[in-house]
Amino acid sequence: MLVFIIKRLLVAIPVLLILVVGTFILMYTAPGSPFATERGIPPAVLANLEAQYGLDQPFVVQIWRYITGIVTEFDFGPSFIYRDQNVNDLIGQGFPVTLTYGFWSFVVAVIIGGALGILAAVKHNTWLDYLAVGISIGAQVLPNFVLAPILVLVFTLWLGWLPGGGWQGGQWQYIILPVIALSTSFMASIARISRASMLEVLTSNFIRTARAKGLPMHRVIFRHALKPALLPVISYLGPAFVGMITGSVVIDIYFSTGGIGQFFVASALNRDYGVMMGITVLLGTLTILFNLLVDILYAWIDPKIRY
């Protein structure tokens, strides 16, 4: 197991390197400059700016500086747009926010989605099942950029119960709407997956045997059926996590939470090379780590798998 983890982590290094170099090349090919403004900048000023950010250096030198900066000092360099801040500050401020509402969304999606799916499977072909299936498909196809404004309209403007955005250090009333908007579609997916796998487990031979022995239903479910039924859910967690990180763009735009999702699009649009690279490295690392974590969890639950 340990060897497996170490091997996977070692593979991650070249992957991240390729990602960094690839993004760097994309950045170079992009038209436009981070310093362009409506009123054209005199060439002398532009030259000053480029010199300050090292853009006048050859490509190889720039990328070498960038990578050594990260490796030796964990310094992701300056932001090209937010000139009073550097990338470490910006991500350091935004990431805890994204992580907080991401974590709660994850918890909500797994618990409610899982429960809904299992309930639907146990009550297979009853109105409860149909209702759960209907809700989950509905929730899955409603884009969160439609859901988010509806939530604000209802809970902020009409009912006045919750603030329509902001974060304020993560007080509970600021977390609720982002979590609902972000978790809904994943909750629905998890419900669908867990329902399908629970149905399959419930018709399998070992469960039939357990039922035949006269074990009560709840015992069968919790003692025997739950674990195997959760396996497909666990393998979905990796993609779900990546999806949530992507979905945080919508959350940050609509709820002004100040998370890093904002930067995914803005850094590319503003040509904020520093932040763009920082986000690439962060997302790449997170995706790799999370997939690894899911694999470990999978192996832990399913004794058949050995690495």
Partner: protein, 305 residues
């Protein structure tokens, strides 16, 4: 998003679907599934809407109704008299015509995107599975590596760097989604390889790529179709997300994502039809694909036999 890893795992592990006689069987099973049939009917209706719509609409998708412009909330409501059956958008353009046109684009993105990923993924997986050994190890490790790239972010970068075009959208979306397909195809190919007819083909000296195309790929068709039906809706969802970010198709063209996004922006201005119509078509199409996909999987799933 929808075509998940778990589905992929399941399909990869499933025994290959064989023989022609089973197809008839599967068809019968599919048509017994009410939800799947309803989904299929919905999809056919949406496609007819996209195909016939342009011929019956009194307006086209770019003409502005100057009488409506400036007073959309009143003059632009859905009505039979004005010919704006679905009402107009915020600029007084006919929403029926625009929804028709948006439907065409979104369906095209969904289907072409799924097609790209299916073709690339199937071939890649089949090659890896057929040759096995070192080649397989390298190819599948590459897939694992590619899976750890934050794709949506890369897609955004691509659209920004190379400019926005349909082609870029297809390439971008196709790139994201062939990986799972490759894993499925490989899993299936591994078990097909040991089949007698493949062995026989090898023995008679048929070239490897001919074997892959003639013998392996046709036998992968069942799983591929199931997976593809689940891929189309996720492509459509990707596209709507890209449109939300303002990186979708150019005016005067539109798509469901663009229409829904524009409608959602007007939500508080008592012009709900701008959101309702495109959202309706978007939702029933996704429902349709889900039900058909589930129905196909059940119909083709050998475990149930």
């Amino acid at each position: 998003m929808i075509a998940t890893k778990s589905v992929a795992d399941e399909l990869a592990a499933a025994a290959p679907i064989k023989g022609r006689s089973l197809w008839a069987d599967a068809r019968a099973r599919f048509f017994r599934n009410k939800a799947a049939v309803a989904g299929l009917i919905a999809l056919v209706c949406v496609m007819l809407f996209a195909l016939i719509g342009p011929f019956i609409s009194p307006w086209n998708n770019e003409d502005i109704d100057w009488n409506v412009l400036g007073n959309v909330a009143e003059a632009g409501r859905p009505s039979l008299e004005t010919g704006h059956w679905f009402g107009t958008d915020a600029l007084g353009r006919d929403l029926f015509a625009r929804t028709v046109q948006g439907t065409q684009i979104s369906l095209m993105v969904g289907i072409v995107g799924a097609l790209i990923s299916v073709i690339v993924g199937t071939l890649y997986g089949a090659v890896a599975g057929y040759f096995g050994g070192r080649i397989d190890a390298i190819m599948m490790r590459t897939v694992d590596v590619l899976m750890s790239i934050p794709y949506m972010f890369v897609l955004i970068l691509l659209l920004v760097v190379f400019g926005r075009s349909m082609l870029m959208l297809f390439i971008g979306i196709g790139l994201v989604s062939w990986l799972d397909m490759a894993r499925i195809a490989r899993g299936q190919t591994l078990s097909l390889r040991s089949k007698e007819y493949v062995e026989a083909a090898i023995a008679t000296g048929v070239r490897p790529f001919t074997i892959i195309l003639r013998h392996i790929v046709p036998n992968l068709l069942g799983v591929v179709i199931v997976y593809a039906t689940l891929l189309v809706p996720s492509m459509i969802i990707y596209e709507s997300f890209i449109s939300f970010l303002g990186l979708g198709v150019q005016e005067p063209l539109t798509s469901w994502g663009a229409l829904i996004n524009a409608g959602a922006a007007e939500m508080n201005k008592s012009t709900l039809w701008m959101l309702a119509w495109p959202l309706f078509f978007f939702v029933i199409t996704l429902f349709g694909f889900f039900f058909v996909g589930d129905g196909l999987r059940d119909a083709l799933d050998p475990k149930d036999r």
